[in-house]
Symmetry: C2
Subunit: 336 residues, 2 copies
């Protein structure tokens, strides 16, 4: 591997001069600069970013830690972050699929010295200042977490979005509305449940615990929860699944029971994954701009890393109701 010394020797200058050519371009004479570049190119010299960051104390890399995520979410969040990071000249070090807190902590530790800041998504835990503690003093942005009040965080307007969805169902005349929840330990799921309840209460419709079916954000769990829902009597006329995967499972269960969507039971979801509009019938859902979530996280993190921004920053990403046919309204037909 060719180092800065090789270039210096070959060009007949000191390593300092070579270094300057690649950094402070101003204070080096035009002649030597050209000479150094020529030699560097000929030798195929590329600065060793690891060594450089050891002394500059900057890696130009952002670490991102994710739990074990379901499809679309995973891809979009990484894409959003990576694109925004790249625009600012930053790399992204990914560590995903953490099922347990210990694994996350371990990954966090091995990132020391490799990153300038961290984006962490860990929705399954309680309020967690232990996360900011584990971040080793690195700038940290929480994504979709129950954050404490000292740590920067970006969240989705889960509660408002769910509430808007349920209010829409109510406006369509539904009174007996079920929900398929996510894990109660999951922050997003808990917030969506809160929005569901708020909408019902605001409309003067009493809560019925029998209509709150436990799910786990997977298609299968939605399928099974919907089967349990169908045994309730009187049967609900609408069901709000806390994410689209569960809504897909719910549609299957309703169909298998010989019922129609939306005529017999309206089904709606949350997230508006790309698949939603291609379903049969197209799925009414709460749209979340996942890539934007990632972008905002990077934006805030770079504010801290590059510009030394300070003070807790809590940002909420608004959602949009996407009305399609699965809820029984005459949904807009969005098109190719």
């Amino acid at each position: 591997m060719v180092t800065i010394r090789d270039v210096a020797r070959e060009a007949g200058v000191s390593v300092a001069t070579v270094s300057r050519v690649f950094n402070d371009r101003t204070i080096v004479s035009e002649g030597t600069a050209r000479q150094v570049r020529e030699v560097a190119a000929r030798l195929g010299y590329v600065p060793h970013s690891g060594a450089r960051s050891l002394i500059t104390n900057k890696t130009h890399t952002i670490g991102i830690l994710l739990p074990d995520l379901y499809g679309e979410f995973f891809s979009e969040i990484i894409r959003g972050i990576d694109q925004a990071a790249q625009r600012s000249g930053y790399h992204v070090l990914v560590s995903s699929s953490h099922a347990e807190r210990s694994g996350l902590d371990a990954a966090l530790r091995t990132m020391r010295g490799r990153v300038d800041g961290l984006i962490v998504m860990w929705p399954e835990s309680e309020t967690d200042e232990s996360l900011s503690h584990a971040s080793l003093g690195l700038p940290l942005v929480l994504l979709s977490c129950r954050g404490d009040h000292e740590t920067d965080s970006i969240t989705v307007a889960n509660c408002d979005g769910a509430r808007a969805m349920v209010e829409h169902l109510i406006s369509l005349g539904h009174r007996r509305i079920a929900i398929i929840t996510g894990s109660p330990r999951n922050f997003d799921a808990a917030e969506r449940l809160r929005g569901y309840r708020a909408a019902l209460e605001a409309a003067g419709i009493g809560l019925d615990p029998a209509l709150e079916l436990a799910g786990a954000f997977s298609e299968r769990s939605g399928y099974e929860a919907a089967q349990r829902m169908l045994t309730r009597s009187p049967r609900p006329t609408a069901v709000f699944a806390s994410n689209d995967s569960m809504a897909i499972g719910a549609v299957s269960a309703v169909r298998e029971a010989g019922l129609r969507v939306p005529e017999d039971i309206a089904v709606t979801g949350f997230d508006d994954i790309p698949m939603a509009r291609y379903m049969n019938p197209p799925l009414t859902s709460v749209h979340v701009d996942i890539a934007a979530l990632g972008e905002r996280a990077i934006g805030r993190l770079l504010d801290v890393v590059q510009r030394g921004a300070t003070g807790p920053h809590r940002d909420t990403l608004d959602t949009t109701l996407m009305i399609r046919r699965s809820c029984g309204a005459n949904g807009s037909h969005d098109h190719a």
Copy 2:
């Protein structure tokens, strides 16, 4: 930030001893080891991986460079790679969405000193030993590329998969079969076109250039290509889209023309993205285990990085025909 020196001073030992405690655990006495660990824990010491890798010449990180990819593919490839890497104790440094070769080269350069090896996907270019040259002597695995014969590569059985699909259409009685291609510069697309032609020729069906519609792997391009296809006369009875996104666009175009899928025109795709089975009708497609592609790439790369494997290694990932209803056969109803 607390360094190894702080721990050494506080524990009353040398930095060498502290280092040994965290690496070669054998040659240090039980007493001092415990003492050092205690101090390290109390001070919250975490080794600086950047500094460490400067001298060990190992980063335990794999760089992955991707072009601008469409949804599912992106997520699955990263997930497959990340999971496999994590199992082996490796991190993943991502750099994606490169639209031009120059951007890819730049990213490649900034990875020097940060990674132990590279996985590069660059399907848009010609045979490219310049890529292995640009990799700075780092171990390199090409993904889905026109590789030269000296570089390791993992590819999908594009040609065989496409051929199997077209043969299936022929077996259903179709004789006038169109294809919506991807960019001719794209390796996967070119191979799929080759498979299409091979199947027709093997069946004694002549090639008709008018039935080869140019697409670009996007839904819209599939939609537009299908519209052009519908003007051909006699009209094709089946169309094979080179990927699922274009198949989705094609279905929209066929429907808008007042025709039915599959009764009037059979439509099939390639990739078998998750959405395929939820479409209406469910889309017949060629299944590619994308995560497996990533896993194999990491597997091979680590063979080289860790075990010094050598010699060109070319691996092909087989595909599976997923027959559903969009082709007119009685497809299997896979289920939740």
